[in-house]
Assembly symmetry: C2
């Protein structure tokens, strides 16, 4: 018997689009040159990464010169936070970072705290929203930078970046958004958002691993994270990963062309999962119901540990995550979920299904049958599940029944 | 007529070994998982990068746990210099860096100077050697770190790292070596060298771009450059570039197995070029004649600019570099050549031929015919070449005739 395999962890990483892989192949073989070389191999490699830059820029409505390639979204986030904090340190040493951020922002912020910067962590409401009014209250004369994720890959909530930018711009503060989960998946327009810095990662939209980028608004000075040669106008050194960059360009082009179609395909599948789970007792949707990533369905399941669900689902060929990929092996309750007011016991029962274009409606039907069965089975053996009613509801989550 | 193409710029980058590309392919398609995921796609990806780690470790005689993947040699160099300077800042804030270093070391050192560290730049002799006795003299009580390249990609000189380590260890100083040009090309043994940190890049030994590593000796604390998730034991965040890492492992395995054969193939080809050029007037070998990279032939040609030679050679299908790839477009005389006492006028006439396994003896014959002809032609039109004898010899270079 061949087991069904349903990959529902597209926020962790994605399979390459076949056209993306095809676009990359020549740059592994005949076109292997170093973009800095002055002869034809170099010129072709340079042309290829510049053509890709145009496509990446077009995806987010930026100018090509505003795109700096990195090796990952994490590098882009570290570059943004540390590079901008240092670039503006003479104007102030206070930074605002939301509690919804990915570890690459939170841990870079902690590094800055050790380097004599002050970081204030913006609280969020129970849907995971950062309130622009709260941002306003927390701004000081020393504040130079605000970093708020465009959408959390853990709970799918899409933040009101545009409103936060409005507040920031009244105080001449730079705004960075971690758009790793959104770029290529929903419309991301740097001009409409008004941000100064925006991080993205190609493998989040069917591009390759090893390719990310930081949008840096024209005229914005930033201190490099990786020093060296004159690559990326001296702002990010290291021999360019030409095949991966070319793949990122192709993935960006495809994402732009197919975005509407992809969103329309994913939303009903996501909604099917959410609607099914609404009928299962003590399962709570995390994140906002409406302003959420098109393929993202995340829950907290009471009385069960996320890890146990993952393993039982995996045994049925259903692959999902508990919190972010980067933290799922850390075995701690997710700081993002805790910041939303979810009790730590309930946060341990976190599970995320993130859909992609390789998922079929049949995959979703399979999940909709199997997941409630897995929950039932685990509750039968859970010591915590015996005394239902003696404990408080996990009522701080957004969706109740 | 099909033009002959001879790629003599293997220090800039290398074509992938076909077996390396083959090893990478499954990780672009069916095995696309994120190594942090707990289900089978993740486990296979994790197993793949750990298997690669064993091969990379074996290439340099390290333990697998001592290898931290990076996206490039430049990242490894920045990580080493900045990460170690910060990790030991309570013990001292003085660093020694040689003048032979790549831009990624020199510019990271400049960043540290701006961050309240003192950097002393170690002079070199006319062959490009750092003298261990000079190192000894420049050590202060504040010195915590010494960084000397294993070999310069510009002049090919292999440094006496082992002797430098001996001096450093008398003073409890950490030693880093940038082994990007040597790893995979000549024997590199971290235990024999005695270094604490060593940088490498896969594309320097027929592996992919986008994959590098830093060897960090067991028990050595280092501050991360890229913060985030728990990848690389929390020392380097970002979703791992699985295909590139797998390719680096395969390239390391091949390099270890074939190293002797490769060196024996390249050395006579290199020597043929050096011997031919010894017969051309006012062409000087740069770097040491004996302790040099097996495929590396570098010269300064009097009265001619490197750029002009590159272009004329390229028109004949001969692809080479003037100085390091990262600086060749910067249009400045190479700091490495100047540090060796080469006059700046002569340093402008720098050219590097770096050989690889794709070069044939016929390629070298072709170069040996064409290069002297290019020099003759350029000198016919050079205003500087008229008054030969009125000027000093470029006699500070190593090889005279």
């Amino acid at each position: 018997m061949i087991m069904k395999k349903c990959y529902f962890d597209h926020v962790a990483t994605n399979p390459l689009h076949p056209d993306v892989l095809e676009s990359m192949m020549p740059y592994f073989t005949e076109e292997f040159g170093n973009p800095l070389s002055v002869y034809e191999y170099g010129i072709k490699a340079k042309d290829a990464i510049e053509a890709a830059r145009e496509k990446v820029a077009a995806l987010v409505h930026a100018k090509p010169a505003e795109i700096i390639y990195t090796s990952s979204g994490a590098e882009a986030n570290n570059f943004a936070l540390r590079g901008m904090a240092l670039a503006r340190q003479n104007e102030g040493k206070h930074i605002l970072v939301s509690r919804m951020e990915h570890h690459s922002i939170l841990n870079a912020a902690r590094f800055l705290e050790k380097s004599d910067f002050t970081v204030t962590y913006l609280p969020v409401d129970k849907s995971g929203f950062v309130d622009p009014d709260t941002v306003k209250k927390m701004i000081t004369k020393e504040t130079t930078l605000i970093s708020v994720t465009h959408a959390s890959s853990e709970v799918g909530t899409i933040e009101q970046i545009k409103e936060i930018v409005k507040v920031a711009k009244e105080h001449n503060i730079i705004v960075h958004t971690d758009a790793v989960a959104t770029t290529g998946n929903i419309p991301v327009d740097v001009q409409d958002l008004g941000v100064d810095l925006l991080s993205m990662a190609a493998h989040q939209f069917y591009g390759p691993k090893g390719a990310g980028a930081l949008y840096v608004k024209q005229g914005t000075r930033i201190v490099p994270l990786i020093y060296g040669g004159i690559q990326e106008s001296g702002r990010r050194a290291g021999t360019e990963n030409v095949p991966a960059i070319v793949g990122m360009g192709k993935a960006a082009e495809l994402a732009k062309a197919e975005m509407q179609k992809r969103m329309e395909y994913l939303r009903p599948l996501r909604d099917k999962i959410i609607d099914t789970m609404a009928n299962v007792e003590r399962v709570y949707l995390t994140g906002d119901r409406t302003a959420r990533l098109p393929g993202h369905a995340s829950f907290c399941v009471e009385y069960i540990e996320g890890e146990a669900m993952l393993l039982l689902l995996a045994a049925k060929g259903i692959f999902s995550a508990s919190g972010s990929a980067c933290s799922s092996k850390a075995l701690k309750a997710s700081p993002v979920l805790l910041s939303m007011g979810i009790p730590s016991g309930l946060a341990q029962g976190s599970i995320v299904f993130s859909l992609g274009m390789d998922n079929t409606p049949e995959d979703v039907d399979y999940l909709s049958n199997e997941f409630p069965a897995v929950i039932r089975r685990l509750r039968e053996i859970s010591p915590y599940a015996q005394g239902w009613g003696d404990r408080e509801e996990g009522g701080s989550c957004t969706v109740k029944k």
